[in-house]
């Protein structure tokens, strides 16, 4: 079976998954206590009823669900309750790019710091460098981004005044958010790169590369890394899920106008259409990303294509 058929079959499998996610989130949000128009100061019942009628929230739940699913099939995610005049799709489109940029910077930080550190640690197992990297990776797991971000702000924004405390305007504003999100993920990247390299270092072709008199950086980073990267590549899927979670707090700490902030505030406000829309968007992005990772792995190893 060819690559195209493999991809097509996997894509077809995504549709029921997304439908299931949409259904679960729809009903979870609807049955949650409170509603989108319960503000701190109660508005008159009649105004609330008018709003409910306007957005079709007074209809039977089954009808609302049917209508939502029909619109969803056409790619319509519904209107936003908190931003009148905007649709959920427009808002997500505007915010997703900001979050994507943050995520890519963070991934860049994680990989450019984590992978070389892991490889260097594996070149001399048991050495001081190795223990330092392993120790730092263990520490990294215990310092989540909502701990790291305030500490970085305290040191580099309030203390030294090098960066702005919040905002997303200049290039400098990218540094602290990307670091607080990315450093957390450098730890697992380093651990995986080290593990992959430890498996590879005993292989014959590595010894052959040494025998040919190649410079050490070429042996480790060209011959070794290529084969040691498989665990890191498969890790990108779960890492992206983690980055999304991390973006919720990093965006709220640095006041970045991204998708994570939109999701958290919609959860606060019970903005049903926005909750469903953002969760579906996240799910679609992650499933697509996992599919890409799977395709890369299947392309590397034809055995996987026939099996699944």
């Amino acid at each position: 079976m060819g690559m195209a058929a493999f991809i097509l079959r996997r894509l077809a499998g995504l549709v029921p998954t997304l439908w299931l996610v949409a259904t679960c989130v729809f009903f979870l949000a609807r049955f949650a206590p409170g509603g989108p128009f319960d503000r701190e100061r109660e508005m008159p019942e009649s105004a609330k009823a008018a709003l409910h009628a306007h957005y079709g929230l007074d209809r039977p739940l089954a009808e609302q669900y049917g209508r939502y699913m029909l619109n969803l099939a056409r790619g319509d995610l519904g209107p936003s309750y908190k931003h009148p005049g905007w649709t959920v799709r427009e808002l997500i489109g505007a915010r997703a790019l900001v979050s994507l940029e943050l995520g890519l910077w963070a991934l860049l930080v994680a990989i450019t710091l984590g992978v070389p550190a892991g490889v260097l640690a594996a070149t001399r197992p048991g050495s001081l460098l190795d223990r330092a990297v392993t120790g730092a990776a263990t520490l990294g797991v215990c310092v989540p981004s909502f701990v790291l971000a305030p500490l970085l702000v305290l040191a580099f924004a309030l203390g030294s005044g090098w960066f702005n405390v919040l905002g997303w305007e200049t290039a400098g504003d990218r540094v602290l958010p990307a670091l607080s999100l990315g450093l957390v993920f450098a730890a697992p990247a380093a651990r995986l790169a080290r593990g992959g390299m430890m498996d590879v270092r005993a292989q014959d072709y590595m010894r052959a590369a040494v025998a040919r008199g190649l410079p050490p950086w070429r042996i480790w980073f060209v011959h070794g890394l290529r084969n040691a990267l498989a665990p890191v590549v498969t890790w990108i899927g779960p890492a992206a899920a983690g980055l999304i979670s991390g973006s919720f707090v990093v965006e709220s700490i640095f006041n970045i106008p991204g998708l994570g902030k939109l999701f958290v505030s919609s959860a606060f406000d019970r903005e049903y259409t926005m909750i469903c829309g953002t969760v579906l968007f996240y799910a679609a992005v992650l499933l697509a990303l996992n599919l890409c990772v799977e395709c890369v792995m299947a392309w590397l190893n034809p055995k996987l294509r026939a099996g699944a």
Partner: protein, 309 residues
Amino acid sequence: MTAPLPAASPRSGREGATPASGAASGAIPPAPRRPGVLRRLTRDRVAVVSAAFLVFCALLCACAPWFFPENFYAAQDRQLGAVPPGAAHWLGTDALGRDLLARLLEGGRVSLTAGLVGTLVSVLIGTTYGIVAGWRGGRAGTVMMQGVDVLAALPFTLFVILLTLFLGRELIWIYAAIGAVSWLSMARIVRNETRLLKTRPFIEAAQCLGQRPARVICRHLLPNLGGVVAIYATLTVPNVMLAEAFISFLGLGIKAPMTSWGLLIKEGADAMEECPWLLVAPVAAFSSTLLALNLFGDALRDALDPRTA
């Protein structure tokens, strides 16, 4: 209620089998009995230190109500305001004049309990799901595990937030919501282990003797799953605590005047410009507890893993 170590001394089962994790077939001869798990664990200095630290923390938090007057953590003293650490208030006070040490201990009670209750829920769901999927096997088992794969691909905190929306923000429901989404890796591991154990002669013998499946599972399978379950339960505790702190930090978790380490970090981060001590103490408590839990979990895995000599 706040003992920090769930099932710290698992039995290796009456069949004397050690969990043979990661092997592809069931044809592995049972490993010879090694020195007891507890012995191996007490010989590991890192494990002893981290366990002692965790017990100390848990006792401190559990005994806090005896050190302080009732609801002291919420008692305000607006005249006093925020003061740095000193003799009267060892860790200082916040803008409302609340004693940070009392709040830290109360928050620790909530966070550690979250870790334990959430882990308990995740162990119950994960083990049941994993055993069913592994025991049934075949198509049903594959479909069950595909469901786990799909759930694992989605962000975990997203579900916690949605579930707390649905269940409400009472403490017990937050614990349950976190537990209800953190069972995925437990289910995977238990399923793989069950599939391995199911082909072992002692299980087959019990079935041949006509024992009902429920009895075989309870009497013969479960004791042998104890090891892996203990390892992953220990490693689930920090993840559950992280999730609780995470949603509390976002303001979607524990509600004031209740507090938890996540909420204290949030309050500290908001006030760090004027009162950095409000950030430093909760961060130190939270991160060192997570570190100790992770180190202990790794040590437990090494002690139980038959592959490490």
